[in-house]
Symmetry: D3
Subunit: 116 residues, 6 copies
């Protein structure tokens, strides 16, 4: 993703989250808060947590979740070799049904690396 | 969704279902008939059944199914508070992997409410 | 389930939840709290919420979750006809792959009804 | 599975299906009827259909469904080589998460072959 | 799909696979090689294997995988009646949640048949 | 798990894998080999890879896979705090439907820690 693509992805995500907040009561709001909390630094570094989020998103095959965590992995300094090894685990665990998502994961990564 | 968006969604769905009918034998046709039957009035009111269909579609993460049941929930008089509580159950049961679908669910709901 | 089976199921669940609490930090504890909150009374009655939890558990095919919500549905006064109609939606949405779980759902229900 | 294990599996399945029939209205009954219909002879032979049912059950990871279709494959004269090739597709599509089910599939097959 | 649509689909797939190869180490490459191997001729003919891949893709609800196997089924001489019967099994096993994918499967098939 | 439980789990796994090898051709054998390869040391340490395997297994809800990776995490020196944070990510991503598996994960961990 070029910097402007990342920006657009982030802005659209933000716009839709505001609609979620408009209609959501305390339960959905609490879930969102918890969702932020689990990726913070702790006994495991943020980088490892983003890889965990990425592989979980790959095996569950959610493109939006994958794109979010790929950007975050890039921000946390994951290298291409580390990404490859994490994705290989996701591919072997989740099977060839994840391949279309793997393609889009590495397409996003390629755009991020080109913009480095 | 604006009224015209709902109309377009319905028309495209209808067009594709005609292709399904063109190629399907009795089994697929019987499935379609059964699929209509289970959402009819009975011991449970239609409104509850549409909420069941919506939450099942959310946890299984099918955008087309979600969109169909959101429109039907709106037609059956589901309120925004009822929708929020049903979606909160889907979100907690299905996890953050459902959030991109939750966003699109509430975006559709927002358009339906604006067109009220 | 006979009353003693329900009791045993509840006790084992409680025992394992204590092990979860022993090792869990604030995130898992917050999730547990949120998980209780979403089934409380609100715009939708508890009975409807338990049916939503049950159908979500059926289409996601989790026997422990099903058993928990079947007991709760029984406590909230769900009738056999209401249960049948909710399960029919789960079966049609989730397909024949849910049938082994449907069997166990109705086996549990049958035991609950015999103990009424 | 020895002949007596197959018999027990079939009898327990039958016993639970009777409980399903006791509580089910016309929708669940119609689903059961449709579920039988799709595996009958037609443009595709029964053997191919049972292999389709088996691989679908493997990638969706349902042990009871797998066991049922393994027995049916055996009855329809599937060979060990054919089974291996069908399971290899399921394993590659579904990934290593299917391996525990693959083990139980071939354990059942081994028992069926020993009883031949 | 018209011949040009099939060509475009194949070209885009090829382009993305080259990005995958650019970043992938030996594990992902070995997976790709294995993924090709399992659909080759053997005890089961290629046609049956493509039907297995198609039904597995339908119940796991992956549109790209479905499109790939529909084209391959067409190349292997699958008839419309054979396709209908295979899809009926996928629909019954996987439930109504597969219907949007079933629609797209038969839309692709319709385009392939019109171009015959 | 006590040391003898771990041993039994490993022995049963080994026994069933021998049945798999008895019937499997080169594709399944190649998959097994690839499955071992991806968890080896590389750009990411084995410990991180086992955590990735564990969280993928939790969100896909496979008890046997979970048990295997919990034992491997313990062998690689994962701490209870690290495990808690990884599981919290799995729970939030995968939702309450993973809770029964989370319970069994921490029951196994508790037995491993008691045997330390």
């Amino acid at each position: 993703m070029s910097n402007s693509t990342i920006e657009n992805f982030g802005q659209e995500r933000e716009r839709l989250n505001q609609i979620v907040m408009k209609y959501s009561g305390s339960s959905i709001k609490r879930f969102y808060s918890l969702d932020s909390q689990v990726y913070g630094d702790g006994a495991l570094p943020k980088k490892t947590k983003e890889l965990l989020g990425l592989v979980a998103s790959l095996v569950l095959r959610c493109d939006d979740c994958i794109k979010y965590h790929v950007v975050r992995c890039h921000q946390e300094g994951v290298t291409s070799d580390e990404l490859d090894e994490a994705l290989a685990i996701g591919l072997v665990v989740g099977g060839s049904i994840t391949i279309p998502h793997l393609r889009r994961t590495l397409q996003a990564w390629d755009e991020l690396k080109r913009a480095d």
